[in-house]
Subunit: 320 residues, 2 copies
Amino acid sequence: MNEFDLIRRYFAERGVRRDDVPLGIGDDAALLTPPPSQLLAVTVDTLHSGVHFDAGIPAADLGYKALAVNLSDLAAMGAEPAWATLALSLPQVDEAWLTAFAEGFFALAERHGVQLVGGDTTRGPLSVTVQVQGFVPQEKALTRRGARPGDHVFVTGSLGDAGAGLAIEQGRLEFTGPPADFLLARLHRPTPRVGAGLGLRGLATAAIDISDGLAQDLGHILTASGVGAVLDIDHLPLSNALLASGIDRAWRLAVSAGDDYELCFTVPADAGLSVSDGLGCPVTCIGRITAEPGQRWQDVAGVPCEPPPRGWDHFAQGEA
Amino acid sequence: MNEFDLIRRYFAERGVRRDDVPLGIGDDAALLTPPPSQLLAVTVDTLHSGVHFDAGIPAADLGYKALAVNLSDLAAMGAEPAWATLALSLPQVDEAWLTAFAEGFFALAERHGVQLVGGDTTRGPLSVTVQVQGFVPQEKALTRRGARPGDHVFVTGSLGDAGAGLAIEQGRLEFTGPPADFLLARLHRPTPRVGAGLGLRGLATAAIDISDGLAQDLGHILTASGVGAVLDIDHLPLSNALLASGIDRAWRLAVSAGDDYELCFTVPADAGLSVSDGLGCPVTCIGRITAEPGQRWQDVAGVPCEPPPRGWDHFAQGEA
């Protein structure tokens, strides 16, 4: 048995054991029992060192985040998470690093009842590919396609925090103390809105998770649904920490920075959804769907505002 | 839309369309309809440039092989392939390379009715992670656990070809002409024994695919089943091309070199399996299972032979 076999064994002995996994890690493939009469939702995301995370990220945060970004995709489909596989590439075997990585991964997996059912650990540049699968009853799945004129546009949680956290991490924003820690935690340990996704089954007409920035991701809903939207920048939910950071015109970060992993979704106006509707997290109405295509951003007085382009960086505007 | 979005779109418009994929590439997750009363078999494998393949490998071969090694795992479970996801990491966007990669991938996917249902294309060091899913009726799945004393040990196809192909590719074996081309093709375009895996349902007591070399992989069956085996080196199936290469004691390559992606399986002695039993490929009996643990290799006269250790390299014996 080589060192990579040992790693596999290490991951194989951790975490949730589900009744619908007759055979987990340790054969040529896992064997799983899908529930009758439900759809399987499947998604995969890769995080590369130097591209999606700084090489200095705490290993536990990386383990957590690699799973979180995938659970966020399931949340956006209204799916209940069940199984994960992990393809982990490591330049060398560092047991302390692996212990921490697994700790972060399994902490989140256990919170959502997810069993790691397979994986491949290889020597190579540091990168993590996680695939997750979940269940959603047919006709209850949330897609990007169903937004209709008149629907209200909502987001969960607060926006722009991860973008500010990245600026702090990269030394482009000088800000310390508990609010700065909050912003950094929002970057490294995003909260996949799994409960909200389940609560939106049968309620939302369209949903997406916000990984590339609100304007960009909302754009996918609008395109897929063949509609447009009017958005109110003064209603964007900004955290106290973001406001305390002193960033000028923080709404621009909320609109264009990525990595928040909140949900953006649409509901019929007569659904009467409010922040008190028990989705397990705050939700805020930020606009409404229109028949006219495109996004029109405005302030509370109705004055048009131009959101910065995708990938816009508040702190280094030359960046792509 | 950035260049990586374009790639996603390119992959999304190719290949098989299955009825059990209500929603494929293009939302936060794919939605799939698993068949009633079958198990899902799930496996994932990563190939890294410089580790699992030479950076100069033709892109079409890489696309083919990344899927093939995963289909081989499904074959070893007796599962019928259905769905794949692809996490592709590229240092830069090279359209000619991508065209060839997709050609190789989809050629094999179409042969086995596999639909690409999701993926993630990112900028990073060249690597390919494919996950495949297939179906197998409960109680029909092949695992590593069921070998019993007295069972016969079989392999499909021929062994050692990929190891010789690697030696040719790396300039350690001087050999040219059609037989050399055959050996190289065995390395770059292994044949996943999907049909054989399906044919072995209800017949084989244990199965594994040979990726790390026969001795190593058979060892997994023996350990999982709590048994041992006596193996006959003179019965190992060697291709005419391998024999023509003039390699001394080619059986050692057949036992210890990897990457052949043949199946090794066990069947009860009274099953009467022979090469003519319609598994779609040659099968050869190479030994039998014993109650005594361990592997005992011998020649046709019963003289014990010591197989080289795992990872042994016929051409560079200092290699790990």
